[in-house]
Symmetry: C4
Subunit: 274 residues, 4 copies
Amino acid sequence: MSITLPSLRGGRTMLVAVCALISLCAGGAAAQQAPASAGPVDPQLIDDLVAANRILADQGVLDGWGHVSVRHPRDPNRYLLSRSRAPELVSADDIMEFDLDSNPVEHKGRSLYTERVIHGEIYKARPDVMAIVHTHAPALIPFGISKVPLKPVYHRSAFVSVGIPVFEIRERAGMTDMLIRDRALGHALADALGSHPAALMRGHGAVIVGPSIQRVVGRSIFLPLNATLQMQAAALGGPVTYLDPEEAQKIEAREGYGLGRAWEAWKRKAMAKP
Amino acid sequence: MSITLPSLRGGRTMLVAVCALISLCAGGAAAQQAPASAGPVDPQLIDDLVAANRILADQGVLDGWGHVSVRHPRDPNRYLLSRSRAPELVSADDIMEFDLDSNPVEHKGRSLYTERVIHGEIYKARPDVMAIVHTHAPALIPFGISKVPLKPVYHRSAFVSVGIPVFEIRERAGMTDMLIRDRALGHALADALGSHPAALMRGHGAVIVGPSIQRVVGRSIFLPLNATLQMQAAALGGPVTYLDPEEAQKIEAREGYGLGRAWEAWKRKAMAKP
Amino acid sequence: MSITLPSLRGGRTMLVAVCALISLCAGGAAAQQAPASAGPVDPQLIDDLVAANRILADQGVLDGWGHVSVRHPRDPNRYLLSRSRAPELVSADDIMEFDLDSNPVEHKGRSLYTERVIHGEIYKARPDVMAIVHTHAPALIPFGISKVPLKPVYHRSAFVSVGIPVFEIRERAGMTDMLIRDRALGHALADALGSHPAALMRGHGAVIVGPSIQRVVGRSIFLPLNATLQMQAAALGGPVTYLDPEEAQKIEAREGYGLGRAWEAWKRKAMAKP
Amino acid sequence: MSITLPSLRGGRTMLVAVCALISLCAGGAAAQQAPASAGPVDPQLIDDLVAANRILADQGVLDGWGHVSVRHPRDPNRYLLSRSRAPELVSADDIMEFDLDSNPVEHKGRSLYTERVIHGEIYKARPDVMAIVHTHAPALIPFGISKVPLKPVYHRSAFVSVGIPVFEIRERAGMTDMLIRDRALGHALADALGSHPAALMRGHGAVIVGPSIQRVVGRSIFLPLNATLQMQAAALGGPVTYLDPEEAQKIEAREGYGLGRAWEAWKRKAMAKP
């Protein structure tokens, strides 16, 4: 699906208005012809995506409204995401395929995450990103609403070193109900994210991206942990030694990154739940 | 049951004294003739009320003394509430019907929540309210005893935006044992609540109301979360960006409100407990 | 067993030294003739004492080294306490009978809590006390080592209103290994407790007393909760409204006190653990 | 295996570079001839080591990447440690024997903890140490990155009294990926540890040592607890009474130390997990 938008001078608020008028944005997407499938995927990938949902729920990173997706391994223009379900309940049957306009390949009359456009728009903007988490992790909220930037205090959150921008939806679309309800808002969020590994969403949560399911799960666990530790270090008072950018770079450059060892334990624990 | 109270000049402290004298308040209610039932209700509603009890206990919102009620769907002058039992143990058999003076339709010799008058008096004063929670959630206590008002920091606690009043029982009834022991105190609490979605009770807890069981459960989870996040943001220092009243209004106006997705997970987890 | 101690001028440090010399203190008690039993007790009381151990472990109040006792219902000169075992593992078979010098009625070669003298000495000094908890609850430690007194912020911790003294073992016995190792130290602790419902032990924990097992369990849950809430309220800044002494008195005077409702839930949860 | 290193003037950064060049450090160790075994050990010791892994995971002290070792009881030049596995999943079959250069006696093609050199180098430097934990316990991170020293606030963390040094890897090896990747870095960490019971590792975690498995497990539980309590006491404001060095010494000198009672409960709880 290709949309040519008229030349815009009013900026993003205008863009939102245009979307509403011409019904071409996410809200109207279900009426479009369904996109073609990129074909079946390795059941192991589906299994990892289900595990990612359950792990992040078990670790307190995803509440009933968060979600996690993976880009389709055969086609960069498709991604996989659960139908609208709480992450701790997601199973393989719930996983659906979407195009980057966030239209489902097979709708089957299921209800869908409204904010799935976050995934589609970021996959469009960031060819390097293979997996995305949208979270409301409580520890991130204080940093999204204050002027204190997240800084890297812990070796497993070295990715914080490049800076975690804050997405202020008011600057992009004025007064809203805070949700990323359409592709224009998803695009604005992807724009705020830029080339960073995560962006906080003021008063809402965060979006976290990575080069694989395991990496994005790791980041989604360690970003809130970094936030908590940074708050505690600040409360202790005095100067704080953050990771040096060069240290952070070396950590991020580790081959393989060594997440498999923790993944095995996280997964066993999460999948053992009834 | 209709009571005509004598004209009062001494205010609420006097009213309490009158109640004690004439034995017409909650304490003496058991001796009254039982009110008529509004008839059977859909078992699904009972199931939801039981689930609400278990969910809020599982989420740490209700300790052994909190309670949750729903207005009778066929008669605005009746409400449903458990007999005196810890919420995590409540089952369908425990649910009883009360009139708005908080007299049980069928007493069956069961012991009742002393503070059930909270529910009756609020249902009288607030025709819009369909469900009520009385909680001692720890995170709310610091705000009830300090002068710092709760403000909305998180999209799911947008209802905080209209202000959460603090009920100071000393101003209404002088020195008490802090419990809402009779209808006069229940009325005073309903008066302090006014048209708000919740009121903190100094040194005690809070009362939270809503247009449905799901909504009041959601508010009861997100009010303490908002309190925790606001404390953390304050500790970080510097200016805090709260939800704008217009944002809050748009969030609260969402059709359906989207609680069903989390409810399914909350309920499955809570009901799986032994 | 009756001991006449020589007249002491050197104060408590001297007393400790005397105990060590004449081998009449707890350490040497096993060599004494065993005291007579006050007879069997209602199995329900043993069941409540076992439940108290399990509940307080489950609630995070007792670690592997805390303990809880009850005075013998037939003889105020005897008390019941587990042999040396972590509270979460205590069962009816572990409960033993002691005299107030903390000698076991039947030793059976079992290892005993070194600090059981806390119980014996407090039962001697406080005829009103029927049950005692010795805890290392983390939330109490900051108040034991600072100059900030615990104050009542919550209706269920109204008993804090009369003041919670801090036992500074250095003032009583100089430099020690912090444990209440003998009757002289137990007596010193009972002396610091005075007529209060609890005393903090600097750098160690607390002792909490009450008129029944249920009451002492309730106090042991709500004292650390009060500590946590008071820390949070202090962090929020500004004036704090504590319970008024008259409010506290009215709460403490409640007949029955209404702990049974929570007890049922606490017990079911704790006893369901493997 | 014996290595004669060339005389070094450039200090540790140079040493690291040399290791990389001559491939004699841990990374290249697998190619060496395997060291001889010191013989079988009592299955009870293996059982304790497995329990230590599971307990510290269950208590939140070890995440998926921490590890715990014990010195071989028959040969001070050998130690026992799991193959590369998350501690909560370790079983007896995973335990392997290593020499003090951290070469496995039988490699069996298994993947190994990269940072096992921490254990080998500390066992070399500290003949008194019989067991070692490497942890990323969150509560320790704020103290590792700030200038506030850990001080003993609690009787079970008396070992903090002698001081807990902070290992700043930048001072030893410049910019790294923060991991103790080779023997030279392990040696540098052992050097920073000196004769202390633990050393914090800035932005990473800590290493904790002790005279037995039970003692090192106890220290690993109480060091983060001490950190949390010290943060809370600092937040309360005003002067704090720490353990006196003499008190700490007396606590540490306790015969047996009394850990068995808690160990029984910790182990039962941890081993009951699926």
